[in-house]
Subunit: 221 residues, 2 copies
């Protein structure tokens, strides 16, 4: 009975193709959720992550739903192929928002996920945000997700956002993912759109630090 | 000094082309905000409201930003030209959500508006939601907007959502709008996409009741 109950839970998983969201997908599957993966083409310069996300979802046997979004006002170096991506500054937290911050991005993603969850009657929305090894984005903090769940309560919907990685370090995430069998060789983290990860952007740096601290070789390199 | 301060305030106004949002635009202008109007083409069958919104924005001398959204999962009779729109049921509040409810709609609209407000450094987001003469949508209630402002606080942004009509009846809104000089002849409320308002849907019914109770003739008829 308990097993059946577990199998009947369903979730929407926001899948970017990066390390964190891939781990969250495998985490949700392990917890017994049947998962639908939600992918966003929002004009990101690193479109490569979308192909990675599709491969990961397919590998996990989960259906993919893609949404195309246009932010006509831009507002981020992540949306502008001609902008210079900031190099990671060692041992420092950015004082101001980095230029890679996309205004409202996670809020837009979650609002579409809410619409999808309402339509498919999903029980949970999983997102791989984490507030420890991150780029200083305000939409990756625990308080933000708490406020979202309060909003969902006001809407009278039963779906809730789950961000199980939010307080974990990248090394902890990597160790968890390896235990769960996440195919990290298929993930893409780099903010650049090049053939190989640049190794210099925030995203590459945190990924490398995570694998290094976990004493595990990054299978994507 | 005070006048200058007032003039320097800026706002994003969600403009649908209907009675409520047009009133809110004129309300924000009266309060000294310089306003940008945000319009959404989300596959609504009553696209006519978009032309109405553009006319209203132009008449008020405000720039228009349009955003196109696709909800691939549908989920509402408002998005489906072949669906039968529910007729308004006299003297009753719907027990369940009406089929015209678009899952997540206002949350999606506000998340885009947040992105636009962050990029343009706007001080306020105005929305014409009201919880009195409405169709029972959960995203039109005061508590929902309170929860949104708590979310914005968590994000560390200074912009706040203002929903000045949320506790007003349609008659009160009409009286306010007439005082503010809102060109109601240019607004479009009907959920149907026909040449003339159907007179039967919830939106037509609440509008008619508002003008009737305010003892004002609807200049759009």
């Amino acid at each position: 009975m308990r097993k059946n109950q577990k199998q009947s839970k369903s979730a929407i998983v926001l899948l970017s193709g990066g390390l964190d969201s891939a781990t969250v997908l495998y985490y949700a599957l392990k917890r017994g959720y049947s998962c639908r993966c939600l992918l966003f083409d929002y004009g990101q310069r690193h479109k490569k992550e979308l192909a990675a996300a599709e491969k990961i979802a397919r590998g996990a046997g989960c259906p993919v739903q893609k949404v195309r979004i246009t932010l006509p006002w831009g507002g981020s170096s992540l949306l502008d192929k001609n902008a210079v991506l900031p190099h990671h500054k060692k041992n420092s937290r950015p004082a101001a928002l980095p230029s890679t911050y996309v205004p409202g991005r996670n809020t837009i993603f979650l609002s579409f996920a809410l619409s999808y969850a309402e339509t498919t009657k999903a029980d949970a929305l999983f997102i791989g945000a984490n507030a420890v090894d991150f780029s200083g984005y305000p939409d990756c903090r625990p308080g933000y997700y708490g406020a979202w769940n309060a909003l969902l309560k006001q809407l009278g919907v039963s779906v809730r956002i789950k961000s199980p990685l939010v307080r974990m370090t990248k090394a902890q995430i990597v160790r968890l993912g390896v235990r769960l069998g996440v195919p990290y060789e298929n993930t893409w983290s780099c903010y650049g759109g090049g053939g190989k990860p640049c190794g210099n952007c925030d995203s590459c740096t945190y990924r490398a630090r995570g694998f290094s601290e976990a004493k595990i070789a990054d299978p994507a390199l």
